[in-house]
Symmetry: C2
Subunit: 121 residues, 2 copies
DNA sequence: GCAATATGAAACCATTTGGTTTCCTATAAT
DNA sequence: ATTATAGGAAACCAAATGGTTTCATATTGC
């Protein structure tokens, strides 16, 4: 149980790595913005950018790994769309800091405390 | 005006790059968590980690560049603390996606629209 | 069947990243 | 004055990033 909890925690950390890294690139944020308007295929997504289609394709893969984007393959067309579900772990993580920034300190301190108990490393 | 608006926007984008990148590393997130408990000097911050002080120092520099952490030099001691102010741009950015994920689509579409008008690129 | 299209795979390249170790410089403390 | 302490700087290294180009593979349209 403690071991599975640790495993789950490690996975959540990985997800945070993936999501934050995915968001740290302007091109990828632009792709998300475009996808927010509606689904699109890869070529369509790549068109507005001053870089090769392959480069955009790689960015899409990063977004997919972070599970921010999903892809439905239909014949030769790959239709990409924003993942419907919010990244809960990210929201949760940021929530603690928002609490800190807004009402100064309490919530995050509690978070860290809980964290220690939960057998971090 | 439109040129200065563009410049400001580019700066905001850079900030997003910096902040998201800073958050994409587990060590750095752990540092933030530690700092949320209270200010600390570099050696103190480095102690719990299985890496050199210099490595932690570099991570701190990344957090500083993203303006998530500030440093007050007092004699030979560098006292680091969480930046008091929330990264507004980040909050704003995420806010739009939160809106999308929660009430599906509307807010983000509006965001993108406004974005186009505001002379992106 | 054949040409055009949508896409990925592989190999490559320069730069950045996350680490290290080995110095060097201030400031304290005794 | 000497020694211990807090810290950065520089040089280095392996691995990951963000690009590229070239080639390969399905699918679709005629």
């Amino acid at each position: 149980m403690s071991s599975s909890a640790r495993a789950k925690r490690a996975a959540a950390e990985d997800r945070l790595d993936l999501v934050f890294h995915a968001l740290s690139d302007r091109t990828r944020r632009d792709l998300l913005a475009r996808l927010a308007v509606g689904p699109a295929m890869v070529t369509e997504l790549a068109a507005p950018f001053a870089m090769s289609r392959i480069a955009v394709s790689k960015h899409l893969k990063v977004l997919e790994r972070a599970r921010l984007v999903v892809r439905a393959i239909d014949g030769r067309v790959h239709r990409c769309s924003l993942a419907a579900a919010a990244p809960q772990d990210v929201e949760r993580w940021l929530g603690h800091y928002r609490a800190f920034w807004h009402d100064t300190l309490g919530a995050l301190a509690r978070y860290v405390e809980r964290d220690e108990k939960n057998g971090r490393e």
